[in-house]
Symmetry: C2
Subunit: 336 residues, 2 copies
C-alpha cells in the first residue's frame, strides 16, 4: 500500500489554480498576487508537497546536486574538507554525490562521466589525478562549473582553490635545515600534483641551502590515502632507515605516511625526535593521537571546503568568477 508522492497537479487541483501558478509560487521567480500565493501555500503545506527534483533537472533547470570527487574517504583530510563543503551545501539546499576514486584514474574518469549523466550543477574535485584525467575536466568545465582543490592548473575553464602547499613545504624544509638537519628523507605517493609540488620544493630548498639532493632519500609508496598507507610507509621507512643510518629527519607528504614512519622509528628503537624528526602534512586529528604527537602542516581543510563550496554556489547561481583562492598554511610543531 504505497502512498504516491504528491505532485504539482495535486496542489493545483486543491488550490484551484493552474500548475503554472503553483510553479511560480514554488520558485518565487514571477509575480503572483499575494492572496493566491497564500492559498497555494496552504495547499502545499496541507499536502506536504515537495517538488520532484528529477523533473526539475530534466527540463534543464538546476538539479540542486553537485559531485564531489575525492581520492579516498580513509584519510581524515578529506572527511574534514567534505564537512566544510557539506555545511555550505546544506544552507543552499544542495546535496552531493561523493565519489571516491581510490586513487584510480580509470575510476575517476568513470565518476566524471557518471556525474555528467546525472546532470549535476557542478563538480568539486579534490586532489585529482589530472595527469590522466585533465582533459575530462577541461571538457566538462565548458558546460558546468568545475572546481579543483589542490590540483594542477592545466584546465583553462576550471576554477581553483588551493592551500599554499609550496609555502607549507618550504616552511618544513627551512625549519629542518635551520635545526641543523642535512640528511632529510622525503616520502611521497604516486604521481599527482600534491606530491609533485612538494618534491619540487624539497629539491629547491635543499639546493638553495647548498645541500646536495640525494636521490636515494626520496621514497615513494603506491597508495597515499588508504588504510594501507600507514603500513606501507612503515615498511618503506624501515628499509630506508636501516640502509641509510645517517638520516635524521623526514618530510612526509601526509599524516598517514608520517604515522607509518613514526611506527618504523619506534620499532627500530630510535628516539623521536632526538634521533629522527618527522614532519607530516595536513594536520589531521591523527597528529594528536600518536605518541609522541605529530608535527604537521595545517591546511585549514575546513576552510578549503567552505571556500570551494561558496565559490561553486556563486558560480552556479550568478556565473560570477571569483578568481583563484589560495589559503595559507601553517607549520605546527608538536613532539616529532
Amino acid at each position: 500500500m504505497f502512498i504516491k508522492k504528491k505532485t504539482i497537479v495535486d496542489v493545483a487541483r486543491l488550490s484551484g489554480f493552474s500548475i503554472s501558478t503553483v510553479s511560480r509560487v514554488l520558485n518565487g521567480n514571477y509575480p503572483v498576487k499575494h492572496s493566491t500565493k497564500v492559498i497555494i501555500q496552504e495547499a502545499i503545506d496541507l499536502l506536504n508537497f515537495s517538488p520532484n527534483i528529477l523533473a526539475r533537472g530534466l527540463i534543464g533547470a538546476k538539479t540542486f546536486t553537485i559531485g564531489i570527487i575525492v581520492p579516498s574517504l580513509e584519510n581524515l583530510f578529506f572527511s574534514e574538507l567534505i564537512r566544510g563543503i557539506d555545511d555550505v551545501l546544506l544552507d543552499n539546499n544542495y546535496t552531493a554525490f561523493i565519489c571516491s576514486t581510490n586513487e584510480d584514474d580509470l575510476l575517476e574518469k568513470k565518476h566524471i562521466t557518471n556525474l555528467v549523466d546525472r546532470k549535476v550543477d557542478g563538480i568539486i574535485s579534490i586532489s585529482p589525478n589530472t595527469m590522466s584525467t585533465g582533459s575530462y575536466y577541461e571538457n566538462i568545465s565548458r558546460s558546468m562549473p568545475v572546481i579543483i582543490i589542490n590540483g594542477e592548473h592545466e584546465c583553462e575553464d576550471c576554477h581553483f582553490v588551493s592551500s599554499d602547499q609550496e609555502a607549507g613545504a618550504a616552511q618544513v624544509l627551512e625549519y629542518l635545515i635551520a635545526e641543523g638537519h642535512q640528511k632529510i628523507a622525503f616520502l611521497r605517493g604516486h604521481d599527482i600534483y600534491a606530491y609533485n609540488i612538494k618534491e619540487k620544493i624539497y629539491r629547491r630548498i635543499l639546493q638553495e641551502k647548498g645541500i646536495e639532493v640525494d636521490e636515494s632519500l626520496i621514497a615513494r609508496i603506491s597508495a597515499g590515502n588508504s588504510l594501507s598507507t600507514v603500513d606501507e610507509s612503515k615498511e618503506k621507512m624501515l628499509k630506508l632507515l636501516k640502509e641509510r643510518k645517517n638520516i635524521t629527519a623526514l618530510f612526509a607528504c601526509n599524516d598517514l605516511m608520517a604515522v607509518g614512519a613514526l611506527n618504523a622509528a619506534v620499532q627500530l628503537n630510535m628516539k623521536v625526535p632526538e634521533d629522527f624528526r618527522i614532519i607530516g602534512f595536513d594536520n589531521t586529528i591523527i597528529c594528536s593521537l600518536t605518541q609522541p604527537t605529530l608535527s604537521s602542516v595545517d591546511q585549514s581543510m575546513k576552510l578549503l571546503g567552505v571556500t570551494s563550496a561558496k565559490k561553486i554556489m556563486s558560480l552556479i547561481n550568478e556565473t560570477t568568477y571569483l578568481g583563484e583562492s589560495i589559503l595559507e598554511t601553517a607549520l605546527i610543531i608538536r613532539k616529532t
Copy 2:
C-alpha cells in the same frame, strides 16, 4: 560554446531506427533483431551516448541511486563501512548520495525527505537516530527498500544488518571481569541504539557476575563521532578518574572515546594498562596508531557495508527478502 549532450533522438536519427528500438537496445529488455542491434550500438558508440539518468528516473524507472545516511564522516568506522558499500555499488552501476547527519535528528529527517524527493532506489542508514526518526523510516520503507545498519528493530518493513554488538560488549565485560577488574567505567554518547545496547549489556554482565552497578561510573558525552569526541572524552575521563581513584578499567563505546580516555590517563601519569585498562569498540585503524595500541572490538566494517549493499541491490532488483544479517564481532586485545 557548450556541446550539448547527445540524446536518444540523436542515436535514433543516426541509426535510422526509432527511439523505442534504441531504448530496447539500451536496456536489453525486449527482443531486437541482431543486425539492428549492431547498427544501433555503432551509433551509440559513435556519438558516445549515455542516457540521461534523470529522464529515466522521472518515468518511474530506476534512478540507479541510493542514499546513505551516516552520523558522521569523521569516524573512520563509517569511512570503512562506506568503502564496503561503494565497492558493491560500483559493480552495479549505482551511485550514492552520502548524507552526514552530524548526529542531529532534525538534519537526519531533512536528509530522508531530500532523498525521497530525489527518487533514490533505496536507503541505507547507519546507526540512525531511530528514537526520533523511526517513523520516517517506517514510512518510506513502504515505498522503497530501507536497510538499517546497527539500529533499532522498530521499523516493520525495514531490513536489518548488524554486527553482534551484544556479544561484542559481553566479551569485553567478561574479559575485564575475568582479569579481576571490579570498578569498570563505561563511556557512551547520546541516546542511540548502539550505545543503549552496550549499556544494557554492561549492566547485565556486571549483575550476572555479582558486581554492583555504580551509576557514577557511567559517563556520557554529547557527540560520539566527531573530531571533538576525543577531547570531550578526555575531559570527561580526566574528571572521572580524579574523582574516583579506584577505577581500574574502562569500556568505551567507540575508538574515538577510547583514545580520549587514553590521553586522559597519560596526562594523569597512569600506567596503561597496568593501572587502567581501556577497551574500545570498532577496531578502526586508529587503534594501531596510538601508543600503546588500543584494544577494541572488531565489527568487520567492510563486510557490514558489503552485506548491506548486496542486500539492497537484490531488494531493488528482485524484491527478494534475504532475512536479517548479524555479523560476528571479535575482541582484539592490544596493549591497552
